[in-house]
Amino acid sequence: MNQTRRTFLATGAAATAALGMPAILRAQPSEYVIGASLPLTGPFATAGQLVAPVFTMARQLINDEGGIAGTPIRFVTEDSGYIPQNALANYQRALATEGDALVAYFGDSTGFMKLVAPELTGDQARLMGSTSFASELANPATNPYQYLAGPTYQDQFDILLQNIKDQGGSSVAFIFSNTEFGRDPIEHGKMRAEELGIEVVLEETTKAQGADIPTHVTKLAQSGAEYAILQGYVTGVWPQLIGGARQFGLPTQFMGTFWGMEKLIADRVTEEAGPFLDGYQGVMPYRYFYDREDAPRYQTFAAMASEMFAGTPLENYMSTWALQTMCALDIAIKALRDTAEAGQELTADNLSAALSGISDWDTGGFFGGPVTMENNKIGTGRVYQYSAESRLFTPTSDWFTV
């Protein structure tokens, strides 16, 4: 074929388009992607399956609000089976398939967050929230791209101990599961209790699911603790431990942290085993979903849920786990929007800077008031108490910020 001026120009234009197109696409993808690993099978499948619908709602809501500076978002969700290596593979698969369009990720466990943390360097780094409240993650120096959508377990212990102090309590027992999750705040809690003049009269480790519980109840009775804080359980030990203590006639006030504060579980236990949870207290970073009078964001969720999930249990109630996920996504979106609106690229470093810059932010009602991201976490929460009669957790303290 003869090379004429016309064919030369046409070839040149085609080549430029072919070479230049990926660069244009990289600079401005048609949609941004947020990846997520959820335990949709395995030991925490119940939680994963309850949380999954939140992503459908979040996508619609965020895109209706204009996405990220006009660019819509899409979620890529994958099952991890609650195995950290699987979640890591999911993350790297999302990086490989979505490339620069992947701007943030949502992890499913402390194990995954710790496993992935050292991998988050250079072009492998993405802004990352998760279900974890592990204290170790709240450290921008070592984990600059990871954040907590609430207070650490240590913060939650601080809130509970302060509440005990305010109520005039003087002795406490720490009962925790023999897991990383269970042990996380114990040492810190002991120090804090000492500072507040509260005596830790018992430290008791149990399995995550109740075994040999009567022994623990006896020890609790011998310790004479006024308060007992349970840490590192999701559903496991309420009937055996609290039910057992009530049968024993112990007046101990039981308390829990975030994962031990789900109304659905408390209701089910009450239904099946009796009203012994009445008066159980614990710390929650967020308002409960039914407490939405001063929470416009919750009102929006409620309106959407009644339409999107009509005929399912999610129609009228969002679990605390779902709220945590939604809050984590809202924080990521806030960082993404702030960065995009400042005209910066959505790199992990820019997003991390935007994250640290979140200050006096009105979340629309998740928390008691405007919140500030300090050390990549939001250290606020308040104490709630469960009523077996009304089947509601109601606040018994003001919002604490630690």
Binding site: L38, R74, F75, T77, P84, A89, A96, P118, E180, R183
Partner: protein
């Protein structure tokens, strides 16, 4: 009509790869592994590395279950020993003032030796009990070792429940700080392990293992010391798992005790059964099925159905069911493992058009 391959010398008879197709397969696999660090994306490197680590461990499990006929459900513990040895030895060597560049040359053999030693201890019950009883004994060894790792008193060394951050391997100044570089080391060591174990079964020791598998009393009458060879089998097997564990520690940035629990032991045995017990390539095919197929399923389903959460909610259990059905299918239609299936295929290819496997 071709009815077999002519072997005109002992050397030909003893060849590991006794037909052209097998040679082609192995050479192609080696070439692919050599090329992968240059062409594959990070995700493929991650999955390939996971497969390499698992392969080394399953080759080890094959020694004790496949070749010696001793059922073990505790091999994840040996991987744990290997994995935890690496950061602990690195710390000790750093305290002794050794340079980073030689640490892996001590830490990897150290991890292997330590795992072999623990393997001998765990293998002791095999002298008294067999079959399911031995499986339970080894299973409890797994629980005991994980319990010890999680023990608060040992936490200054093991990190307890929280786990340990692991160092990068530094080979004489070449720091393997990316997964891509680690893949090169894993692939090389996986090849060396398979070759070493394959050759083991061309020696007196390997034949003694097989004799024990076939009938241990008869083997003893023939002069094979059961004490010596059963423990040796456990030691070699645990050593391979120790190597896999050491590479696991170098590959991942952190190790947690929960990564080495019963589920991993079962996965190792499942890979061996699906791949083909007592065969060199059995672990290779088993690992492909156990590690790669779930990833392929996720990838394919993701591409077809999309990654939206409401779809993932449904397809996650379906993927699990399909994976389970696949394993049942393989076991039903080829109880001798995929290795046998592939053998039949390659044999048919070799003798085509005269025979069909």
């Amino acid at each position: 009509m071709i009815t077999g391959n002519l072997k005109a010398s002992y050397a030909a008879d003893e060849r590991v790869l006794d037909n052209g197709y097998k040679q082609g397969f192995v050479l192609a696999a080696a070439a692919l592994c050599a090329l992968m660090p240059f062409i594959a994306n990070d995700y493929i490197i991650l999955v390939a590395s996971q497969m390499g680590i698992m392969l080394i461990a399953v080759v080890g499990v094959n020694v004790v279950i496949g070749y010696t006929g001793l059922l073990s459900l505790g091999h994840a513990a040996f991987m744990a020993i290997g994995a935890y040895s690496v950061p602990i030895l690195h710390r000790a060597m750093a305290a002794a003032g050794l340079p980073d560049a030689i640490m892996p040359f001590i830490a990897i053999p150290g991890a292997i030796a330590l795992s072999a030693l623990v393997g001998i201890v765990v293998g002791l019950p095999s002298l008294r009990v067999k079959g399911l009883y031995l499986a339970v004994a080894t299973l409890s060894a797994n629980f005991i070792i994980i319990f010890l790792i999680e023990l608060e008193a040992l936490a200054p060394w093991t990190g307890g429940l929280v786990g340990l951050n692991t160092p990068d391997a530094n080979l004489l100044g070449w720091e393997l700080d990316t997964q891509r570089e680690m893949f090169a080391l894993i692939a090389a060591l996986a090849f060396v392990t398979i070759l070493a174990v394959q050759n083991l079964f061309r020696t007196r020791v390997g034949r003694a293992f097989i004799a024990i598998r076939e009938r241990d009393y008869s083997a003893e009458i023939l002069g094979i010391s059961l004490l010596r060879y059963k423990l040796m089998s456990f030691a070699i097997s645990a050593a391979c798992c120790g190597l896999a564990g050491a590479l696991f520690a170098y590959f991942y940035a952190r190790i947690l005790p929960e990564q080495f629990e019963l589920a991993l032991s079962l996965q190792l045995v499942a890979a061996l059964i699906v791949g083909g017990m007592g065969r060199t390539m059995g672990p290779v095919f088993g690992v492909i099925i156990i590690v790669m197929v779930p990833e392929i399923l996720k990838f394919t389903f993701g591409a077809i159905a999309g990654g939206a959460a409401e779809v993932a909610q449904l397809r996650a259990p379906i993927q699990e069911i399909i994976f389970g059905l696949l394993i049942i299918f393989f076991l039903l239609f080829e109880p001798m493992g995929i290795n046998h299936l592939v053998d039949r295929g390659l044999r048919a290819l070799n003798r085509w058009p005269f025979a069909r496997g």
